[in-house]
Structures are given as C-alpha cells and as structure tokens.
C-alpha cells in the first residue's frame, strides 16, 4: 500500500542538506535505538518486511515529524505490543519512571 513513506517524486521537502563529517549518530539514544531494534529483530518474531510495514503504518503526521530512529522505536514498540512481548501499560509506566527527577545528594 502507499503511505507517507512513498516519497519518490513528491514535492515540497526542500533542498537536501548534506552534513560535513556527519557523525554516525546525532545522540547517544540513536545508537541504543539501532542496537535494541536489531536485537529485537533477532528474537525472530517478525520478518524484516513486517518491521518495515510497522514503520510505514505510522500516521503521516507522526512519520513526517519523527527523526529516523524515532520512527524505528515507535514501530518497534508497536510490534512488541502486537506480539505480546511487552504491554502498552509497561511501555507507559516505563516512560513514566524516566521523567526528570530532582538532583539528589547521590548525584556526583
């Protein structure tokens, strides 16, 4: 099916902005996102094509706004829930636990 990913020939995205000496990742979490996604792929629950389809199935408003590895993580989360490996509640509470906290005496 077509969708937001089907970009060939679309107009309006502006010029390409190649970056000199581009780093492999632009934040540490991007490396973890890549590694976690590949590690989960190795569980063998879904084929690569289904992983791709999960990314392509994101709502266009999300797909166009998300960075590349954010698209990967959102798709991975949806697959983990679909295959019963992680519940939506666990994802939500996990995220809740990571909210900013006040510095404590144990922070160096």
């Amino acid at each position: 099916m077509n969708g937001p990913h089907d970009l060939g020939g679309q107009m309006g995205f502006g010029p390409v902005a190649p970056e000199q000496d581009e780093p492999q990742y632009h934040a540490a979490w991007e490396a973890r996102a890549m590694g976690v996604t590949l590690a989960c792929g190795a569980l063998g629950c879904w084929p690569l094509d289904e992983g791709r389809f999960a990314r392509e199935s994101l709502h266009p408003a999300i797909y166009y706004n998300a960075t590349y590895y954010e698209i990967w993580i959102r798709a991975l989360e949806s697959l983990l829930v679909k295959y019963g490996l992680v519940s939506a509640g666990e994802l939500a509470s996990g995220r809740g636990r990571s909210r900013p906290r006040a510095p404590s005496a144990t922070d160096a």
Binding site: M11, Y25, A31, V86
Partner: protein, 204 residues
C-alpha cells in the same frame, strides 16, 4: 556505551526520546528479551567493522583487477562476499559502474534500503524525505546540492533500491592514479562516490 562524547548521564537532562529508548531497553532487559551487552556488540560492529571502508576496498580492487571487476559486474553478491563482506542488508547486490556516458546514483524512495555490508549505516541525508523525494525528480539539482556538477552530455541514471536488491556505485578511477595500489586507491573512494552523490578524491 562508547563514542558518546557529546552526551552526559544526568537523568534530569534527558530528552523525551532518550528517556523513551532507555525505558524500552530497561523493560526488555528485565524481561530477558535482550542483553545490553549484545546491544553494545551490535553498535560496535557498525562503528568499527561494517562501514564504507569495505565498499572502498571493493572499488579499489575492481580498479586494479579486471577479472574481479568483471565478476563484480556479473555477480556483485558473490564477488563482494568473496572479500568477506556478507550479512544483513547486503544479501543481494548489484554494482553499477560509472562511465563517461552514464553516472549512477542510488536512493531508496520508500525508506532507507542501503548496502550495509559495504557502506555501513546510511547517513541522515540518505534517509531524509528531501533526498528520497527529489533525487528521482530532478537528480542534477540534487547532485548540485552536494557540489557535484556533471557534464551535460553525461546521462544520470537513478537506481531505486528495494528490500531485496541493493546497489553499489563503482565510480570511475580518477586520473593521475596510475601505479597506485589497492590500499592507496581505497583511500580515495568516499562514501558519497559509492552512492553517486560525489566523486572519488583525486590524489594530492
């Protein structure tokens, strides 16, 4: 993890994606679904073992070994595998050779299919909507944004990669490199020259 020189570990500075990925990795680790050491190993593989240096070695060998070049043209998957570059996202490869008449460029309009085994992880611009949408529409204008202006009588051919078949551009060997060995030649072969958005360096 290695190589995160720009980042720091203070929880109170986490951006939402950082928090989201940390939470996910924690949940998966607690459930025994993944091992953080395996994630480290995957990251390390793509930092040090799989990258454009592999593709540069393939191109340099093609420039210096006509039999290998012929094999690469006929069966890139086997020729590249014979150099030890096998694995994920490189299962089926086609090498497209630049000539004075035709310059080749690769893209994945649908996502980010890219020959990982020879080029490593794709750069951000390759995955960007701007590149994916427009390089098939007005390739010369896009190449100009990379500083690449081709002669007007050189045809530009754009190859749209798929999940099954990935392409490697074999650029033309630069003039003035006669007598150089494969190792010195490989140092001239840039990632962009193997995607088609650039040309190899010329010897100093």
């Amino acid at each position: 993890m290695p190589h995160d020189h720009h980042d720091h570990e203070h929880d109170n500075h986490l951006d939402p994606m950082d928090a989201r990925v940390r939470a996910l990795e924690t949940i998966l680790t607690r459930k025994g679904l993944i091992d953080p050491a395996a994630v480290d190993a995957i990251i390390d593989t793509y930092a040090h073992k799989v990258g454009p240096q592999n593709g540069a070695a393939v191109v340099a060998r093609a420039w210096t070994d006509p039999d290998f070049a012929d094999w690469l043209r006929r069966d890139a998957t086997a020729a590249i595998a014979a150099m030890g570059f096998t694995g994920r996202q490189g299962e089926h490869m086609q090498a497209v050779f630049n000539t004075p008449d035709q310059h080749n460029v690769i893209v994945c309009t649908l996502c980010s299919c890219y020959p990982w085994t020879v080029l490593g992880l794709p750069p951000v611009w390759y995955k960007s909507p701007a590149y994916r949408s427009r390089v098939v529409l007005e390739p010369r204008a896009v190449l100009a944004e990379f500083g690449l202006e081709l002669p007007t009588d050189t045809k530009v051919r754009v190859w749209d990669s798929t999940a099954e078949l990935r392409y490697l551009v074999v650029p033309m060997r630069p003039e003035g490199t006669e007598g150089m060995g494969p190792e010195a030649l490989a140092a001239l072969v840039t990632r962009e020259s193997m995607v088609g958005t650039g040309l190899p360096r010329v010897p100093a």
